[in-house]
C-alpha cells in the first residue's frame, strides 16, 4: 500500500520533478551489493546548488553506490532523448544507483521547466562557471559519466550513452 501511494505521488509531476533535495535517493537497499571496479581514475569531486536552492556534495552520493552524472542543458534537444534512456534504468535500479544532472550555460527557470516536462526524478543543478564540465572534459551536452561506489570514474560518454552502454556499465558493478 505504501509503495502504491509513493508511486502515485511521484507520478503526478510538479513537486515530484523539481530537481531538488527531495529527489535524492534513499538508502541503498540491504540486498544490493557492489563489485569492485578496476578503474584507477578518481572522479573529480564537486558540489552543486540544486534547483530548490539546496546544496549537494555529490561525493556523498557515490560514497556507497554508483552514480550516473548527466551533463545537460534545457536547450539541448538530444538531452531529452538521453533522459528517456534513463527512465527504465532508474526504475530498474531504484535507490541502488544515484543520478545527478549538471546543467551548463543554462537558466534556472528554463531548466526547472525542462526538468518537469521530462519527468526528471533526480537532483539537478547548474554549473554556473562550467568548472565541473571542464573537470569532466565536457564540451557540449549531452554527456554522461558513471562513477563507481567510492568515487572511481568508470566510464564517460561524450555525446551521451545508449541504454545498452549504460546498462552494461552498471551491470559490472551492481550485484542484486
Amino acid at each position: 500500500m505504501l509503495g502504491t501511494t509513493a508511486l502515485l505521488v511521484a507520478g503526478c509531476g510538479g513537486a515530484g520533478y523539481d530537481g531538488g533535495r527531495d529527489s535524492l535517493p534513499g538508502p541503498v537497499p540491504d540486498d544490493v551489493t557492489f563489485a569492485a571496479v578496476e578503474s584507477t581514475a578518481v572522479a573529480p569531486p564537486f558540489s552543486l546548488k540544486l534547483l530548490d536552492g539546496s546544496s549537494l556534495d555529490v561525493t556523498t552520493l557515490w560514497r556507497d553506490r554508483p552514480v550516473v552524472v548527466f551533463f545537460l542543458a534545457s536547450w539541448c534537444s538530444r538531452c531529452a532523448t538521453q533522459q528517456e534512456t534513463f527512465k527504465p534504468i532508474i526504475e530498474r535500479y531504484g535507490d541502488a544507483v544515484g543520478f545527478v544532472g549538471v546543467a551548463g550555460s543554462d537558466k534556472a527557470e528554463a531548466l526547472k521547466t525542462w526538468v518537469a516536462d521530462h519527468e526528471v526524478s533526480y537532483p539537478v543543478g547548474i554549473d554556473p562557471d562550467l568548472a565541473t564540465w571542464r573537470r569532466y572534459a565536457v564540451r557540449t551536452p549531452p554527456a554522461v559519466a558513471v562513477v563507481a561506489p567510492g568515487g572511481k570514474l568508470m566510464r564517460g560518454w561524450p555525446g551521451g550513452a545508449t541504454a545498452e552502454e549504460l546498462e552494461a556499465a552498471l551491470a559490472e558493478v551492481v550485484r542484486d
Binding site: 542543458a73 536547450w75 539541448c76 534537444s77 538530444r78 551548463g104 550555460s105 562550467l130 564540465w133 571542464r134 565536457v138 564540451r139 557540449t140 551536452p141 561524450p158 555525446g159
Partner: protein
Amino acid sequence: MTGCGGDEASSPAGLELQVVAPDAVLRELGEPCAGGQPFLYAHATAPYSVADAAGKVVVRGELPEGEAMAAFNHDPGVERVPTFCGFTVHADVAASGRYTLRLGESAPREFGFKDGKAMVVLN
C-alpha cells in the same frame, strides 16, 4: 527563420546562410548538434539577428538544430570524428548586400552572399 523582408511560403529557400561553430568536438557526421565550448551560445532556439550595411535589422530568428560537419578533409576511419557544428538558415534579403550577423557572445560577423550562399564562422 522569421524574416522581416519576405514570405517564406512564396520563397521557401531564400539565400542560404551557414553559421559554423568551430568547436572541434568528436561526433558522428550529420548528427544533430549544438555548439561545444566555447560556442555553447550557438544552439537550437538561440536568437540571432542580421543587419544590413546601414545597421537596420532585416532578419530576426532562432537557430535551428545544428548538424555535425567534418572539421578536417581527412577520414580517420572511425565513427566519431572531429567536427564543427553548422546551422543552416535562410534569409529573404538582397543577394548583393553586406550584412552583419549577431549571435550570442560572438563578436558581430560581417558577411556577404556569393551564388546565394554565405558562411559565417563564429569566433
